[in-house]
């Protein structure tokens, strides 16, 4: 599993961001280390602390570093000169909160450093499309860049699963909030243990398909309660993947009042 380092000026901000992201994963989160504050309650960052955090979570599969702003980025780059690990260390320009959540979910599912970084950098996608749908903010130019970075990943995953032998099944979303972040995270993590390529399409709205291995992709469907979604799977355990997804959907992803 890759390691994740969270660099912030504020220990409280880093802790809260990590706690929020951990809501999405189960008992065994990926290795996460926080390097925040400059000691003695000083708001700031410390490159030595960042280097120690990188070394702490490095286990041979790479480390992804999230930074809030300003000197956090300088301390991050400086830390790569102080660290002792020979792991690949990537400083990501992903959004701090959205990116961290996407990364922790995908890292927990065993994804590679490249995959996790790509997912994290595209993590503004759902918020942008949601606000654009509502006639609100139009994504800024640089945001479009990051959104288009994510799009090929989702599309690639989608086309990979669209083979001639794909198994397909449809189900109606019954939980009150539809495919929001927590069910999306549950899908990504459940499928990580199943040998199948899966895509999801919102039949009601015509959105998708998106790769079911992408938290951001699933969230970007914006699938709501009572909408019909179609799961399509290929691979050795395609049937198991479909059965599992149908069951999870029927159970409302554990969100139905008992």
């Amino acid at each position: 599993m890759i390691g994740i380092v969270v660099v912030s000026h504020s220990p409280a901000l880093a802790r809260a961001a990590v706690d929020l992201a951990l809501e999405m994963v189960g008992e065994t989160p990926p290795p996460i280390a926080i390097a925040a504050g400059a000691g003695d309650g000083i708001i700031g960052t410390d490159a030595v602390k960042v280097a120690e955090a990188i070394d702490e979570v490095a286990s041979g599969e790479g480390v992804l570093v999230f930074m809030d702003l300003g000197s956090a980025v300088l301390s991050g780059t400086m830390a790569t000169e102080f660290m002792t690990t020979s792991d690949e260390v990537r400083l990501t320009d992903a959004p701090f909160v959205e990116g961290l959540i996407a990364a922790i979910v995908l890292a927990n599912a065993g994804a590679s450093l490249d995959e996790v970084d790509r997912e994290a950098r595209g993590a503004m996608g759902p918020k942008q499309s949601q606000l654009a749908d509502q006639g609100g903010a139009v994504p800024a130019a640089e945001s479009e860049d990051s959104a288009s970075d994510a799009a090929p990943a989702v599309a690639a995953a989608a086309s990979a699963a669209d083979g001639p032998a794909a198994l397909t099944a449809e189900a109606t979303l019954v939980n009150p909030d539809g495919l929001h972040s927590r069910p999306a995270a549950a899908i990504v993590q459940t499928l990580a243990g199943i040998d199948a390529k899966v895509t999801i399409r919102d039949v009601t709205t015509g959105k998708g398909p998106v790769g079911a291995n992408s938290l951001i992709g699933i969230m970007s469907l914006g699938a709501k309660k009572d909408e019909v979604v179609a799961f399509s799977a290929t691979g050795a355990a395609a049937q198991q993947a479909i059965d599992t997804l149908l069951e999870m959907t029927r159970d409302g992803f554990g969100e139905l009042a008992s």
Binding site: H9, G37, A38, G39, I42, I43, G44, T45, D46, A47, V48, K49, G70, S71, L74, S75, T77, M78
Partner: protein, 213 residues
């Protein structure tokens, strides 16, 4: 008395004088930073340099590289803001370049400072006119090199470097910041001296005062 080298004791006196100057000008530096940044440059530099002098006093260095590297690491871990990695890099690279010596001649000190400034540029990606510490340090270093090449002693070279830093610092006032927090302000950053260029000028002032003949 004309001097041609900077001794280890003078390096320590230089750092100590820099600590005094940033402490003295703490409110002023913070005031500059509150106009275009996050109002912490004075307190950050004072805290950082106080930690440096405490560390230097507790474990006296026996060579220039050891001293300067320790200064750099102390700044990195105690400053907090962007000046931590930037000043930290300046001193770390100076130390690596200076090597395990107990005194530096004008050319060697200039080369060490140049290595430090190159490190700052690599870290912060600043260019001339971006309204940063580079705008004071770069002309100061050019003036130092020119003075040393022209046969000036350490004292005269330091005076020339300080004068060039002041000029560079003052020239940052009308500039629009292109790096750091101040760059978020765009055009509104014009009309203020850059805090980093101002504290860098204090570094040269401290040097000039320390080696004054």
């Amino acid at each position: 008395m004309s001097t041609s080298t900077i001794t280890l004791d003078q390096l320590i006196a230089w750092l100590s004088r820099f600590r005094d100057l940033v402490t003295e000008k703490q409110s002023y530096l913070t005031e500059l930073d509150s106009a275009i940044g996050d109002a912490d440059h004075g307190s950050n530099m004072t805290r950082g340099m106080s930690a440096v002098i405490e560390k230097v006093g507790a474990a006296p260095a026996t060579a220039a590289d050891e001293l300067l590297k320790s200064v750099g690491m102390t700044l990195v871990t105690s400053v907090g803001g962007a000046s931590g990695p930037l000043y930290g890099t300046l001193f770390l690279r100076m130390g690596v370049n200076a090597g395990p010596v107990t005194e530096l001649d004008g050319a060697a000190f200039g080369a060490a400072l140049r290595a430090g400034l190159d490190g700052v540029v690599a870290r912060g990606k600043a260019e001339a006119g971006d309204k940063t510490m580079f705008d004071a340090l770069s002309p100061a270093l050019d003036a130092w090199d020119a003075a040393v090449a022209g046969g000036a002693d350490i004292s005269a070279a330091a005076s020339a470097a300080f004068a060039a830093a002041e000029k560079g610092r003052d020239a940052t006032e009308p500039l629009v910041a292109r790096k750091g927090r101040a760059s978020y302000l765009g055009e509104r950053s014009a009309g203020h001296l850059d805090p980093g260029a101002t504290s860098s000028t204090l570094l040269l002032q401290a040097l000039a005062e320390t080696v004054a003949s």
